[in-house]
């Protein structure tokens, strides 16, 4: 096994491209649209819960996940690769930061750790690149709210607002018109829903879209009180009811 594939499957073409990464990006482009918007007081990540059949129990599909109490993540592309990256991201947040510095990693540090994992899959023996682009939104004391996109190549970009996946081009044009510096979290959620509405094909309600926010500290979600210097998580998933309420207000 080691003999047969002791070389990387991702190699340069004469034109200087890495075909495998191009193909991975194509896989992402085929994926269901996801978007992220940064506001003054928070970040919203939104995605469509597209299922191949009405019989799929979509209640238990998780496309937006918590990595640390203040950082959330979503994707476009291959679901299984996202699942694996979620597990690795959560672990790396502890092993390469929290266990060393005794605090949760700032967003950009976690992003570089995840990007490193994805890059390693483009330069290691016998593996293929991850077929997902990730949208990572988080808050830390030094940089405030930050939204990042990480690609299969391992390159990452900070965004004010962006979309990835099938309808990403149309969505980005839509966002370009509507984004401004003074947006608040509720406005951003509103815009996110409007943007998703453009690219969604079937019905749009609390059960077919998934939205998570990184907002103000939810001390009531901490689970304990009385400890000094500990604040509640900023990551929160909107319940189907909360999404429906906002859709009604559209």
């Amino acid at each position: 096994m080691a003999d047969r594939y002791s070389f990387s499957l991702t190699t340069f073409s004469p034109s200087g491209k890495l075909k495998q990464i191009e193909h991975a990006l194509a896989a992402v482009k085929q994926g269901v649209t996801s978007l992220g918007i940064k506001a003054t007081n928070g970040i919203v990540l939104a995605t469509e819960k597209k299922s191949s059949s009405v019989l799929v129990n979509s209640e238990f599909i998780e496309k937006t996940v918590k990595i640390t109490p203040d950082i959330g993540m979503t994707y476009a592309g291959m679901g299984p690769d996202f699942r694996v990256l979620t597990d690795k991201s959560r672990k790396v947040a502890h092993t390469r930061y929290k266990r060393i510095y005794n605090e949760d990693p700032p967003t950009k540090i976690l992003v570089t750790d995840i990007a490193r994992i994805m890059q390693e899959a483009t330069q290691s023996a016998g593996v293929r690149p991850y077929g997902v682009s990730l949208l990572i939104g988080g808050h830390d004391d030094n940089n405030g709210f930050m939204l990042y996109q990480v690609d299969p190549s391992g390159s990452y970009f900070p965004w004010k607002a962006t979309a990835i996946g099938k309808g990403s081009n149309a969505a980005k044009t839509f966002l370009e018109k509507r984004w401004n510096e003074e947006l608040e979290l509720e406005d951003a959620i509103h815009i996110a829903l409007l943007t998703l509405k453009e690219s969604i094909e079937g019905e749009m309600n609390g059960d077919t879209v998934e939205i998570c926010i990184i907002g103000s500290q939810n001390d009531n979600l901490l689970g304990f009180e009385g400890a000094e210097g500990v604040s509640g998580p900023r990551f929160k998933k909107l319940s189907p009811q909360e999404i429906n309420d906002r859709l009604d207000a559209l």
Partner: protein, 270 residues
């Protein structure tokens, strides 16, 4: 490479047994810690004295550690060991909880702790009382450094455990209220504070009730506040007489404002 290194084991044995040297004393938490179940939950408490031999190293240290939002653990033994083992299992418990998308369970933390401590054959000197609430209910356990665990309605560990247990044995009864349990634990810790030299200072408490958030009461009781000093030890101005004063002009001070903007500004990374 993780884990303990036993490279010096043979040398240390020789030094302590045949060469008359004493092993260095690790900071112990001395300690009185207790845990006690009540009608709808469990409460744990600890004193706040940390000792290094006969010296009080910390008069107000925190012996109540958080393994998960609603699972807390009191630690006796080697201070560094209780802190590090608690943090490691807390980290793994958080990852486990995220992975399963479930609230962490006390028995899970118990299993992880005991398997870790057993692996190190008692060399990690952590003696813990682990308690908490989870979807299965309220739980109270204790773990010893070699990896053995006990279950109980009331438990005590540390050098002050006998003083505390005397109080617990006398006053514990089943189905107490939260307030009764808090008072019982506070009294038990106080027995250790007053009667055990390895324990002292304040009482920390943590209440974990089913269906509610856990509540940490840091310095719930402070019966050992240092009294106001009898006099001020500040020296008056003029206490040291000035015999001679000479002033030498060593440099000429010129004030030159540094431009931060404009054509003459120095280059900095913005």
């Amino acid at each position: 490479m993780p884990g303990l290194s036993f490279d010096n084991y043979q040398r240390n044995q020789f030094l302590t047994n045949s060469a008359g040297y004493n092993a260095p004393k690790a900071t112990s938490t001395g300690t009185t810690i207790v845990g006690c179940k009540f009608k709808n939950g469990v409460v744990i408490a600890a004193d706040t004295r940390a000792t290094a031999g006969p010296i009080v190293a910390d008069k107000n240290c925190e012996k109540l550690h958080r393994l998960a939002p609603k699972i807390w653990c009191a630690g006796a033994g080697t201070a560094a060991d209780t802190e590090m083992v608690t943090q490691l299992i807390s980290s793994n418990l958080e990852l486990h909880s995220l992975s399963l998308n479930r609230e962490p369970r006390v028995i899970t933390s118990l299993q992880m702790l005991k398997q870790h401590l057993f692996k190190y054959q008692g060399h990690i000197g952590a003696y813990l009382i682990v308690a908490g609430v989870d979807p299965t209910g309220a739980h109270l356990f204790s773990i010893h450094a070699h990896g053995s665990t006990d279950v109980g309605y009331y438990l005590s560990l540390g050098s002050g455990s006998l003083a505390a247990m005397a109080v617990l044995e006398r006053d514990w009864e089943p189905d107490m209220t939260k307030e009764q349990a808090m008072n019982l634990c506070a009294e038990a810790i106080q027995a250790g504070i007053w009667n055990d030299l390895g324990s002292g200072s304040n009482v920390d408490l943590c209440v974990m009730e089913v269906g509610k958030n856990a509540h940490l009461y840091r310095n719930h009781l402070t019966p050992n506040v240092r009294e106001q000093k009898q006099r001020s030890y500040k020296f008056e101005r003029g206490t040291t007489a000035i015999l001679k004063q000479s002033i030498y002009n060593l440099v000429d001070v010129v004030e030159e404002p540094i431009a931060t903007t404009g054509p003459d500004a120095m280059e900095v990374d913005s």
